[in-house]
């Protein structure tokens, strides 16, 4: 080896080729290893059995039964009929309730977005010490009982509530506003109650955005607003979609908030289904309504996903 030319011994000259070969070897070894370990891990799929069996028995099966009952004359699954769907879809009153429920979810989600985006922004950009306190404050409401939070709003929004009393004493209004039992009230309270569902995914995705991108954009002359619109927002979109989906789904099934704030005059699908299922004891009709509510919610969720992906493709396709 000592007879070899000095250049070959020079580690700096040999390094690139040598490293390349080493890297290739490493990658190959890694792949073999992955293959081997995945074969080794094969028994892991058995870990899935308990959860899988549970979901088939106690999640999928009930939903199948719901669907079958909605297509039959009675709970005993006798006779096939689409009469319950026809009854719902030809009844203007029922259709308006379904429509109102979806619109309610969209409005509450929009309010959540308007306030959730700044909230998440502040949480991420705050001083680390302050940040954990802020995140704690965001999580606290979602873990406090929904009944408790809704109850708080009854105290606030009522005719004798704080809001009306403050407005009256400030001379902003002459007579108490009807905030309780109004759609505005329901949207406000739903947005407050479900806000953490929006903010948590927003924080997660905002944290993953490289801060250098915003700095670069500003260094190149774009202002804060333009940077936010053109750089941050497109990258933030996955979190926005995830949060919106969670909030929308939660708002459409928020029985407690809808009934307590909306009162008896504002009827949304959850209360309507509950009334039909218990009061009127009309199970097949209630089943058809449940299926229609599920389809509507999933449709909006699908559209939200699609919107997120379309924006993504326009930007990066």
């Amino acid at each position: 080896m000592t007879a070899a030319p000095a250049a070959e011994h020079d580690p700096e000259k040999r390094a690139p080729v040598f490293e390349k070969i080493m890297l290739q070897q490493k990658v190959k070894a890694r792949w073999r290893f992955v293959e081997k370990s995945s074969r080794f891990d094969a028994p892991e799929w058995r870990l899935l059995l308990p959860l899988g069996a549970f979901f088939v028995l106690f999640f999928a099966a009930p939903l199948v039964v719901l669907f079958l009952v909605s297509l039959s004359d009675g709970i005993a699954l006798n006779g096939f009929t689409v009469a319950h769907y026809a009854k719902f879809l030809t009844d203007a009153f029922s259709l308006s309730i379904l429509f109102d429920t979806v619109v309610l979810g969209i409005k509450a989600t929009a309010v959540c977005l308007v306030f959730g985006l700044p909230l998440a922004w502040v949480c991420v950009h705050a001083h680390p010490r302050l940040r954990s306190l802020l995140v704690f404050l965001v999580i606290l409401p979602i873990l406090t009982s929904v009944v408790v939070r809704t109850f708080a709003w009854i105290v606030i929004l009522g005719q004798q509530g704080i809001l009306n009393k403050t407005f009256l004493s400030l001379g902003l209004i002459d007579h108490p506003l009807r905030l309780l039992f109004s759609e505005v009230g329901v949207v406000m309270v739903l947005a407050q109650v479900q806000m953490p569902l929006m903010v948590l995914p927003l924080i997660t995705t905002l944290q993953r955005i490289d801060p250098n991108l915003a700095d670069a954009s500003r260094a190149l002359g774009a202002g804060h607003w333009r940077t936010f619109r053109r750089v941050i927002l497109p990258l933030w979109l996955p979190g926005l979609v995830a949060g919106s989906i969670l909030v929308f789904a939660a708002c459409t099934t928020a029985f407690v908030t809808q009934t307590l704030i909306g009162g008896a005059r504002l009827v949304y699908m959850p209360l309507y289904i509950y009334q039909q299922a218990t009061g009127a004891n009309n199970w097949p009709f209630a089943a058809a309504m449940s299926v229609l509510l599920m389809i509507s919610v999933l449709l909006v969720v699908y559209l939200l996903n699609l919107a997120g992906r379309a924006r993504w493709a326009v930007r990066h396709g």
């Binding site: 899935l48 899988g52 549970f54 708080a152 806000m195 789904a249 699908m269 959850p270 289904i273």
Partner: protein, 271 residues
């Protein structure tokens, strides 16, 4: 000189709008809870705010509210059982799909997370139909079964998140040093993902304890749970005892949350 000033306006207006909206949002997140707490100490029989005087009379009144206590006990039992089962099912499921990037794992993941997207109320009604069709009478056990489906996603989410941060080399090292899969799980995997599981368990417990859409259909007079009981009281006659009960729930939540933050780093697990 015009350019820097323009940029300043841009910067300050951006900060002002973001700051103002966030301040309003924080105010609205915290304010209702404080109102309930203050109202619960009122000395009168009305929910007027601010209360004319303060006392603990409604908290002592809770001691005689036997129906409410029974409902709270039922809620605790159901939440504990649903959480325990969700942790077992969710953790084993997470171990199976969490480390795989295969397509089927992604599909299964979204199926197991779907209870968070589907209207829970429709699922609650479906469960009622299912149990009555197969002839199983409603009990606390059927309620637990109904709650698990909506609790598992929380355990699954946090456990998969902590599994993704687990260095596979550690497991390989343990296995190649002769430890069996079970021993490896107990001594290597579990200590490393324990905080994730704990955070998920905490969320699952709260989700079950607070659940209304599923409980609405799966409970009867004997198995009444706390949120439904409170909802009925508020819906029929506004009783100040609900404010006191809310106060107890708020205090319990804060204590549990501080504990969860300490032991599981809850807020770090959530985002």
């Amino acid at each position: 000189m015009a350019r820097p000033r323009l940029l300043d306006l841009d910067r300050s207006s951006f900060r002002a709008v973001i700051g103002a909206l966030a301040a309003i949002a924080f105010f609205f997140l915290v304010f209702p809870t404080l109102i309930v707490l203050l109202t619960s100490f009122t000395s009168t029989a009305s929910l007027r705010f601010p209360p004319p005087g303060y006392s603990l009379r409604w908290y002592t009144a809770l001691l005689d509210a036997h129906q409410m206590q029974q409902a709270a006990l039922n809620s605790l039992k159901v939440a504990a059982a649903a959480t325990a089962l969700s942790v077992v099912l969710g953790t084993s499921g997470a171990l199976a799909i969490g480390r795989s990037s295969a397509r089927w794992a992604k599909i299964l993941d979204s199926i197991f997370m779907s209870p968070l997207l589907l209207p829970a109320l429709a699922f609650g009604f479906a469960a009622l139909l299912y149990f009555s069709l197969i002839g199983v009478p409603l009990s606390l056990a059927t309620l637990v079964l109904g709650h698990i489906a909506v609790c598992v996603p929380f355990v699954l989410r946090t456990t998969i998140a902590s599994l993704s941060q687990l260095d596979p080399a550690l497991l390989d090292a343990s296995l190649s040093l002769g430890a069996g899969p079970l021993f490896t799980f107990r001594r290597v995997t579990l200590p490393l993902i324990g905080r994730g599981i704990a955070a998920g368990a905490f969320l699952a417990f709260m989700a079950s304890f607070d659940n209304v859409p599923v409980s609405l259909f799966l409970t009867d007079a004997r198995t009444e749970v706390l949120p439904i009981h409170l909802w009925q009281i508020i819906d029929t006659d506004l009783d100040v005892r609900t404010a006191a009960a809310s106060g107890v729930l708020i205090f319990a939540t804060v204590i549990l949350m501080v504990a969860a933050e300490r032991f599981a780093g809850l807020s770090k697990q959530l985002h």
